[in-house]
Symmetry: C3
Subunit: 438 residues, 3 copies
């Protein structure tokens, strides 16, 4: 079967479709558990086949335990019967995972529960407290400063109780069991770049992959950060050795250049393919070595798994001023940035999907290409490049050099190297060496 991923381009209107999904999901209050995640996954499931998993509270997952499920009915601070901080206006107002509370507090009592960003007086910060039970509100610093001494009515009408952790999984089988793992975190409320951008791009990527099935299998995970990847790993420990490449996707909608963070291995196929592909689609593309913090790649790259999983973003976690605040709103994400991120991942996966090791079956001397009709019949520089590509592929196909190795060594385009390899294979001069390629 001819694999056509590298030539899959994004169809017309992709940028707008990505942005529309970001807009649709923006109002939902997501967290690491709860109905917001379910609602988000339902929207994804309208576009790609998605298995939605529910893992009950209390389930042991690696070194962790699935926490209580959190849901919000209402939350506000009122003064004189008037809501002055209201979850209904922005779900960022409530510290995520706040435990229930009802009471009347003086400003002095309330103050330690209020969070703002003095450097950005009009922005609402985003705060969470998943693992130490507390409650709190976030508000613009200019609002905070306006609060007067008074009695405030506080309502945190949440539930924090046994339930389950929810994640979505889309498995697209290919010709081989070897699979590519693609993940994005779905635990953030109304923040556009972090991470509706990742959710939108991964959803659309799933749709493209479904149409243009490749050689490898693809597994897309829509998971809450940290606890989600830990949960998935705990439930799939026996299958992770199928993963030959992986990528966590997040913050891909802003104006920064593409940024690839290497896997812990540093020279896995995904790392080398990224280094080959990304500078060709973004001349400002940046590369950083693995560090053990960031998104879910830190779990996949823990020493007990050490999976070949890199991470792709534009602005990095914490790198942009708007990060984790209301300023990461709908305007912060651009359709052309989303679309370019998507098409870049498609390019990258194309190289990984087509990556092969071939073995020259006539390795002693050069085989006579002319008698096999492999000598270019027309001249010109394209024919000459093709000829040179054949010589490189024949010379380096010793089982140790992959197509990507050959492209790097010869400085010829990967697609040309692959194309002549297929021709040489069809002429009986190459055979594929099948083995682990991570």
């Amino acid at each position: 079967m001819s694999v056509d991923l590298p030539r899959a381009r994004t169809p017309a209107g992709t940028g707008e479709r990505l942005q529309a999904l970001v807009r649709e999901l923006f109002p939902i209050c997501r967290s690491i558990t709860g109905d917001g995640v379910r609602e988000t996954l339902a929207a994804v499931a309208e576009r790609i086949p998605l298995d939605v998993h529910e893992v009950p509270t209390g389930a042991p997952v690696l070194d962790w335990t699935v926490p209580n499920e959190w849901n919000v009915r209402d939350a506000y601070i009122a003064k004189d019967g008037r809501r002055i901080v209201d979850f209904a206006e922005s779900n960022l107002h409530l510290v995520n995972y706040s435990e229930p509370f009802r009471g009347k507090l003086s400003l002095e009592e309330l103050r330690p529960r209020l969070h703002s960003l003095p450097e950005h007086p009009s922005w609402i910060p985003y705060r969470t407290s998943y693992y130490s039970p507390t409650w709190g509100f976030c508000l613009a610093d200019e609002e905070l400063r306006r609060l007067e001494e008074a009695e405030y009515e506080v309502v945190v009408d949440t539930t924090l109780a046994p339930g389950s952790l929810t994640y979505g999984e889309c498995y697209l089988p290919g010709e081989r069991e070897d699979e590519v793992l693609l993940t994005t975190h779905v635990c953030h409320p109304s923040l556009a770049n972090d991470n509706l951008s990742g959710i939108a791009v991964l959803t659309e990527l799933g749709a493209l992959l479904q149409e243009a099935r490749g050689s490898l299998s693809y597994r897309l995970l829509f998971i809450p950060g940290t606890i989600g990847s830990i949960t998935w790993l705990a439930r799939n420990k026996d299958q992770v050795d199928r993963i030959v490449a992986g990528l966590t996707l997040a913050c891909v909608g802003d104006g920064a250049p593409l940024t690839y963070k290497r896997s812990r291995r540093g020279n896995a196929t995904i790392d080398r393919a990224a280094e080959y592909t990304l500078p060709r689609v973004d001349e400002r593309a940046r590369f950083v070595d693995f560090i053990p913090w960031g998104w879910d790649e830190r779990q996949f790259n823990s020493p007990g798994f050490n999976l070949p999983v890199g991470s792709l973003c534009r602005s990095r976690e914490g790198e942009f001023t708007e990060y984790h605040s209301s300023a990461d709103g709908l305007d912060f994400v651009r359709p052309e940035a989303l679309e370019h991120a998507l098409s870049s991942v498609v390019e990258l996966l194309g190289v990984i999907d087509d990556e092969r090791h071939y073995v020259n079956l006539a390795p002693e001397g050069e085989p006579q290409l002319g008698k096999r009709g492999l000598y270019p019949t027309v001249g010109g520089s394209a024919a000459e490049q093709e000829q040179i590509a054949m010589l490189w592929v024949l010379n380096l196909s010793d089982g140790c050099h992959s197509l990507l190795d050959i492209a790097e060594r010869s400085q010829l385009p990967f697609e040309l190297v692959r194309e002549v390899a297929l021709r040489l294979r069809d002429a009986g001069l190459l055979a594929e060496r099948v083995e682990d390629r991570s």
Copy 2:
């Protein structure tokens, strides 16, 4: 036996002798087969012991087959009984390996058979068609433009028939069976730099090697390009593991700096010795990584053989404007360039011939040099350098470091390192480690 190669210098008059051989061989019409090759090898055989091999047409050689033998009696284009393009004037006029033809053609019919170089209107190009039967003529573009509409008489009085492929082999046995392979291509007609320069230098090198026998054995091949090395490899497959170093020689007579193309291995002894030696004999010396096109090194470096064979030239294949045209004539080649190429190869082979791994027989602490008379008796910087060289050789002679490694690490001259190693060996402090050194 004391090996004296590194100190072999080229005798007086070498440049002129090299040029004389180029002149003598220039008029002969060579090809990949035929009497021109035989005549050339006969001239070589007057100077060095040469086995001339004839391999019959049809013989299978690796993936190839020995082709029909080609010979030319006469070839011309005549108009009104007057020869206007004549093989007798320059053997470049006839497309090499042209099949027989006799006939009368209009200019329109003739035109597709005529080849010229519009950018260099007075030069005759050199063209071949070994593997697809056709015929044609090459002429100066200014001549081509002068041709008028007329009836042309065309005579290609060639034979293309079963016969044999001819190559010459000069084997100079040394103390060891390990051998150095030195080859040059003999298939080009009247082109001076490409490759009468190579033929002349290799012939003279053979004469020098015969006089100053080394430790290694030397095998010199005078072979038609591509099919010649393939034929030799096919007939000597079982012996190629004796080759510890090799070099293809071509285009060594022009004014460009020495250019060394590394073997596919990239760090074979020949590669390291070239990197050590050549900058010392030519400060402009250039180095390029292996690429799978060029001269016969591409066959020796095919993955099934992967022999430690580099390539030495001045201008590279195709790099000079005069390449493959009548402008690569006798004036293009300079006696001092030929002689310098020869003496450089002698230097290079000297290092390879003397390259050894020694093992320190008193490796615990430094041996006491004084009681063995190895401490310099006179002072001065030469004595100090000698002393330092002994310390380096003793310290690094652990079986893992060769003399060349020690010269590189210590930045001392190879000859000094070798000299003190011989003294330490004679004092019983070193023993040679014998093994594969390629």
Copy 3:
């Protein structure tokens, strides 16, 4: 046991104490054997526990033999009954290891026995002749020039007779048998930097190490140069595999920056710890690759031992003008330079003593730090660094990366990495991997 070496600082008055020891030992006439060495070791033994070994003349030691012992009662050149060159004034006046002589000589006969430094007319050179029996005197060139034709009375009242070679050894056992070897040469007479500086610093280091016992064992050698290390190696061949790091110390009292000479291995723990530590204590710190001359490191790094022993000095052997002359006197050595050398070695040994490989016991995913109280309770950049350090240690503790590897990779301070590793170990998340660490 908590190991506190890295935080051991030099106590107040250390520089003065070091200088006092240099002053005390300065007048003694040392050589590779004899009473001067014994007297010197006796002074060292007042400060640290020292085993003094006597190895008899004639004892075979590796490739060498322990030489006759040399002692001096008196030596002078007199003219008209007046001593004009007198060993009692400076022990440099007598060529070290001069054999006995008594006689009357003309200036012409005497001249070949006299050594001076014409470039430095007021300095007395330091000369030795350990292994070829002779005698001679050293004097200032300006004195030499003043000598007139006359009869000179020469007295070399030395003994060169069977006796023994003396060296001192201070062994400070730690928790492990793995040991650090620290050596200095004690064979030079009245030369301050070379090497009373080394003797003083090693003595004081012994005193510090005795107080702040570490995890490793420490072995300090006070040995005559070359023959001393050879003798020790000959007598301790079976134990050298306990040595996980080592350092020869010399010339550490002058004003040059710290200079570390790598072990022959080049990447031993001592080398990597030096590269980590020294630039932090001396921004001008210099590093040089191993060369097979210098001080006793050349014996420890001979190929039959190949021990991980580097060398620390300020000015290198022969690098300073005053080297091996009376100008290397008490004024040439500075208390602050001695003290800084000492504290730098303490820092360096601290890293080596604390160097460990840990294995993450919860390697699948990140362990939940919060439930173990390992999450910082207060914020701020120190807490954040600590958090980041924990993530690095957990991620890289796969048995292949040591604490030093992690400090290098993360660019975090070694002490912080070590500190969080101990906390993680105490929390049951890490276990030490015990093995060879050289």
